[in-house]
Symmetry: C2
Subunit: 546 residues, 2 copies
C-alpha cells in the first residue's frame, strides 16, 4: 500500500505557482481595505442589524423536542450495537474464539437474556418500539448482503475433480446428522414444532439444523490455529462448503412446505422457486457477465457495480421472499451467479469489507432481541432436551466425518481432528434457526435449545483442538498471526474479505503483508482451489473478465 | 491495481501436491463402494422414508403470508431507490450535468411530485407506511455519513496563508447573499415561516439558504468541464469550502433559536453546543489520534476503523440532535476531527466509497417523498415569489463574487466565470432546506420554492459556462475524461472519493490510472492545497500518523 506512491506534489506545485500569481493583478492596499469594507463589513453589519431588530427571544412555536427524538434514539442504538459487536469480537479473540461468536454473544447480551434481566427499562429505553423497524432495516440489508457473500464464496469452490475421499467425507458429514435429525423429528415435533411446523417442514428443518457446518467460522478457527493447510483443515472446509449448499437447498424446501398454505400455493412456490433458480443460474449469470459495469476492462466501475450488487441482491431476495421462501435464499442465489472476474469481484470485496462490519451486527441484535434464554424454561426437561440434542449433534457429525475419513484412508489423528472441526455450527446455524423460527416451523423453546447447542458446539471446537494437542502440521511460512490481538490480518484480507472469509485472508497474506489486494479474489480463488483439489484447474484464470 | 500481483499459485500448488496424496492411504474400490453406501445411501434412504411417512401435505398452521411481507416490500423499495438514483445519475451525466442532480431528481420523481401525480396507488404500494421507517433508517445513516465526509473534506482545506484575493472573494460570495437573505426575511416571514420559525431563526435560515455553494457538486462540474485548475475554478472551490463551514455554523445557530423552546432550553442548547464542539475539537481529536485502530503503523486496521467511524459519527450526531441542533451538525464535527493520517483516512475513503452510493440515495427518496411540487400552489403569487428569490439568489452570489474578484485584480472573464460557478447550490442546499423544514423553521410552500430555486441555479451552471464559451484555460495533462459516460474516473478516485469528492478523484488520477490509491488521501490533500494556496505548506506530510 505504500511502495507505489510517487510524489504528485512536485509537479502541481510548480504549475500552481506558475499560473496563480500571473493571472491576478494584485490590488493596492487602499483598494483591499475598501473592498473588504464593502463586501465583508457592510453585509455583516446588515446581518447584525437584522438580528438585533428581531431579537433572539423565543416566540411561541409549535415545534420543540421532548426527550430524545426518534432520530437521536436510532443513531444512539446504532452506535451501541456496533460498539458492542466490536467489543464482543475483540473479547472472543482474546479468549481464543472466532470473533463472530463474540459478536453473536454481544447481540444476546443486549436482548432479554441479559440486559432484559438486569434492567428491562434500560433495554426498552435503548431499543424503543419506533426504533426497532429502523434497526431491523439495517439487519435485513446486512443479512442479505452476508448471504450474497456466502453464495459468492461457495461459487468459488469447484467440486469437480476432487479426490474421492474428500467427496465422501463431505457427503457423510452432512448426510448422517441430517438423516438422524429427520428420524428424530417425529419424537420432537410435539414439543418443538411451531405453528407452521408441518411434519415434513419440521423434519427437514431439524435435519438441516443438525447438519450445518459454518464455512466462515470454521475458516476463521482453522486460520487462528494455523490448521488451514493441513489435511483435516482442507477436508473440513470442503465438507462445510458442499454441506452449506445442500443445507440452503433443504432449508428452502422446508420453508416451502411450512404450514398455512394450500396445496396450490405450495405447488406455486415450488414451481416459482425452480423457475427462478433456473432463470438466475442460466440467463441471469449471462446477463450479469454482459453488463459493462461488471466486465471491465477498466479498473473497476466503482459505484455502478456496487449499486448493481446491492440492488440485485435486494431484488433477488425480495423475489424469493415473495415466492414464499426466505429473502436469504434469493440473496444466496444472486451471490452464486455474481461474476468471478475482475471488476465484479473487486466491487463485491469492497462492498463486503464495509457492509459486513457495519450492517451484520444489527442482525445479531435482531437475533439477540428475539432470543430469550428464559423461553426454554429452566428445569430437568429443558436440560434433558438440550443434552439429548447436544449428544445427537456432536456424535452424528463426529461419527459421520471421522469414521468415513478413517475408512477412506485418512490417518487416525487427522480423522479425529476432522470430526471435531465439522462440529463448528456458528453463524450459519444461527441464520438457519432464526429463519425457522420466523417461518413458524420451530417454537421458541426448541429454538432456544438449538441456539444453546449451536453456541456450545461452536465454542468447544477451538479448545478441543488445542486440548487434543493438534498443532499445525504444515504451518504456512511467514505467517505472523497474533491471535491475541486479532490485528495480524493482512490489509489485503481485512480489506477484501472482511471477517466473513478469514481463510481467504490468510491465503492472500502469503503474498506479502501490506500489499493491497482488492483485485485478489480471483487469485485467492485459485489458491483456495488448490487447498481443496491439490492441483490447479487449467484455464481457471480465464473464466472472468480479463 | 494490476502490476504488483505476483502469481501465488505456483508455490502453493507444489505444496498441496506434496502433502495431499502422501497423507491419505487410498482405499480400494470395494471399500469405496461400501463406505458410499453406508454414509450416503443409508442416510438418504432414511430421510426419504421419513418424508414419505410424514407426507408433504400442508397441515393447517398459523403462519402463512398474505401478499408481500414487510421484508419483501422493504427490499423491493430499496432496490428501486438504488436503481432509480443510479439511472438518474447516468442520465444527468448524459445531459452534461453532475450526477447528483440526477439522483436528486430521481428522488423527486418517486415522490408525490411525479409518481404521486401519475399513480398515487403505485407510490403507496411501493412505499407503504410500515416500510418508510426502514427506508428512513438507511437515509439517516446515509446523511450522517455524508456529512461526516463533508466535514472531513473541509478539514483538509487550510485557510492560513491564502492570497488576499482568495479570502476576500470567499467572504464576499458568502456575506452578500447572506445579508440580503437576512434583510429580506422580515418581508417573507409572514408567508414563509414554519411553526417554529422565530424571526431570528427564519432570518438566519434564509441567509444560509441564499448563500450556500455546494462544494462537492461544484467540484464535479469543474472536473467535467476541465476547469478545476483554472483561476476561477480554484477560487470558487475555496469560496465554497470556506462558505460551507460558515453555513453549517449559521444553520446550527438558526436551529438553536428555532421556536418552541424556553430561554433556558435555548441557553442550554447554546452552552451544550459550544461545550461539545470545544470538547470534540480539543480532546476528541487527540483521543482519536491516540486510538491504535487509527494510528497504524499497520496497513489499515480494517473493520475496527470502519466501525469506529460509523459508531463515532452516529454518537456525535445523536449528541447534537439531543442538544436540540440537528444530527448532521454532530456528524459534520466528527468529520472535522477525524485524523488525516494513513489508516484513518484509508478507512474513511473505503467506507465512503460504499456508503455514499448505497445509503445516500435513500436520503434523496426521503427528500422526494417530502417534496411536493403542488405544495407551492400554482399561480402568479408562487411564480412571483420564485422569480424574486431566483433573482435574489443569483444576483447576490454573482455580484458578491464576481465584482469582488474584479476589484481585487482578477481578469474580467475569470470574474464572470467565478460569478457563475458560485451559484452552484446542489446537494448542500437540499440538506439545508430539508433540515429547516424538519425543524419547522420554513413552511412547505417556501420550502418548495427554495428547492426549485436550488435546482434551477445548480442546473444552469454548466450550460451557462458552456454558453459563455469558457473553455478550460489550463487543462490537466493526460486527463482522459469521458463526460458522456462518466466512466473516465480513475479507480483511485472512484474507490477513495466516491462521487462526493470528484475534484479529488481527478487530482488522484494524475498519478496514473489503475493505480490503487486507498492511501492517497493525504497526498490528495496536499494536491488540493496547492490548488488553493499556490504553494506547498511545509511539513504537511507529517501531521498524520507516519
Amino acid at each position: 500500500m505504500t511502495e507505489s506512491t510517487t510524489d504528485p506534489t512536485a509537479e502541481s506545485a510548480t504549475e500552481s505557482e506558475a499560473d496563480h500569481p500571473s493571472h491576478i493583478r494584485p490590488p493596492g492596499r487602499r483598494r483591499l481595505v475598501s473592498v473588504s469594507v464593502a463586501f465583508a463589513g457592510i453585509p455583516v453589519a446588515v446581518a447584525a442589524a437584522v438580528l438585533t431588530t428581531l431579537g433572539a427571544d423565543g416566540r411561541e412555536g409549535g415545534g420543540g423536542h421532548q426527550g430524545l427524538g426518534v432520530v437521536a434514539q436510532f443513531l444512539l442504538a446504532a452506535a451501541l450495537v456496533l460498539l458492542a459487536a466490536w467489543a464482543g469480537g475483540r473479547l472472543a479473540v482474546r479468549l481464543g474464539q472466532p470473533p463472530v461468536m463474540g459478536e453473536i454473544v454481544a447481540g444476546i447480551a443486549l436482548g432479554p437474556s441479559l440486559l432484559g434481566v438486569l434492567s428491562p427499562e434500560t433495554m426498552r429505553w435503548l431499543f424503543p418500539d419506533q426504533v426497532r423497524p429502523m434497526l431491523s432495516a439495517l439487519a435485513q440489508l446486512g443479512l442479505v448482503l452476508f448471504m450474497f457473500e456466502v453464495g459468492r464464496e461457495l461459487a468459488a469452490v469447484r467440486l469437480r475433480g476432487a479426490a474421492h475421499s474428500f467427496v465422501l467425507v463431505a457427503v457423510a458429514s452432512m448426510s448422517v446428522p441430517f438423516a438422524t435429525g429427520m428420524a428424530a423429528a417425529p419424537l420432537l415435533a410435539g414439543s418443538g414444532a411451531g405453528p407452521a411446523g408441518t411434519p415434513a417442514a419440521f423434519a427437514l428443518f431439524l435435519g438441516v439444523a443438525l447438519s450445518v457446518t459454518a464455512f466462515p467460522v470454521l475458516a476463521r478457527i482453522l486460520t487462528d490455529l494455523g490448521l488451514t493447510r493441513t489435511l483435516p483443515g482442507r477436508m473440513s472446509l470442503f465438507a462445510a462448503a458442499g454441506g452449506d449448499g445442500v443445507a440452503w437447498l433443504m432449508l428452502a424446501v422446508a420453508l416451502a412446505t411450512a404450514g398455512g398454505r394450500s396445496p396450490a400455493a405450495l405447488a406455486l412456490t415450488a414451481l416459482g422457486a425452480v423457475a427462478y433458480g433456473a432463470l438466475l443460474l442460466g440467463a441471469g449469470r449471462r446477463v450479469l457477465l454482459a453488463l459493462p459495469a461488471l466486465r471491465g476492462p477498466g479498473p473497476g466501475s466503482g459505484p455502478a457495480a456496487t449499486i448493481l450488487l446491492v440492488a440485485g441482491t435486494a431484488v433477488s431476495a425480495a423475489i424469493t421472499e415473495a415466492l414464499g421462501l426466505h429473502a436469504l435464499i434469493g440473496a444466496f442465489l444472486f451471490g452464486l451467479v455474481w461474476p468471478p472476474g475482475r471488476p465484479a469481484a473487486d466491487a463485491a470485496d469492497r462492498t463486503n469489507a464495509v457492509t459486513r462490519p457495519v450492517l451484520l451486527p444489527f442482525y445479531f441484535l435482531l437475533f439477540g432481541l428475539t432470543f430469550d434464554l428464559g423461553a426454554a424454561g429452566f428445569g430437568w426437561a429443558t436440560a434433558g432436551l438440550t443434552g439429548l440434542l447436544l449428544v445427537m449433534a456432536i456424535s452424528t457429525k463426529f461419527l459421520g466425518a471421522a469414521l468415513c475419513a478413517r475408512l477412506t484412508g485418512v490417518p487416525g489423528r487427522d480423522s479425529v481432528a476432522l470430526g471435531i472441526l465439522v462440529n463448528t455450527r456458528g453463524l450459519t446455524e444461527i441464520v438457519v434457526l432464526m429463519t425457522g423460527r420466523e417461518a413458524g416451523i420451530v417454537n421458541d423453546r426448541l429454538f432456544t435449545v438449538l441456539v444453546i447447542v449451536t453456541l456450545i458446539t461452536t465454542l468447544m471446537t477451538a479448545p478441543l483442538l488445542r486440548a487434543a494437542g493438534l498443532r499445525p502440521s504444515a504451518p504456512a511460512p511467514g505467517t505472523d498471526d497474533e491471535p491475541g490481538t486479532g490485528r495480524g490480518g493482512s490489509a489485503a484480507g481485512e480489506l477484501a474479505g472482511g471477517r466473513a472469509g478469514p481463510a481467504l485472508e490468510r491465503v492472500g497474506e502469503r503474498r506479502g503483508a501490506g500489499e493491497p489486494d482488492l483485485a485478489g479474489h480471483l487469485e485467492r480463488r485459485d489458491a483456495l482451489e488448490q487447498q481443496f483439489l491439490g492441483e490447479r484447474a487449467p484455464g481457471l484464470r480465464d473464466d472472468g473478465a480479463e
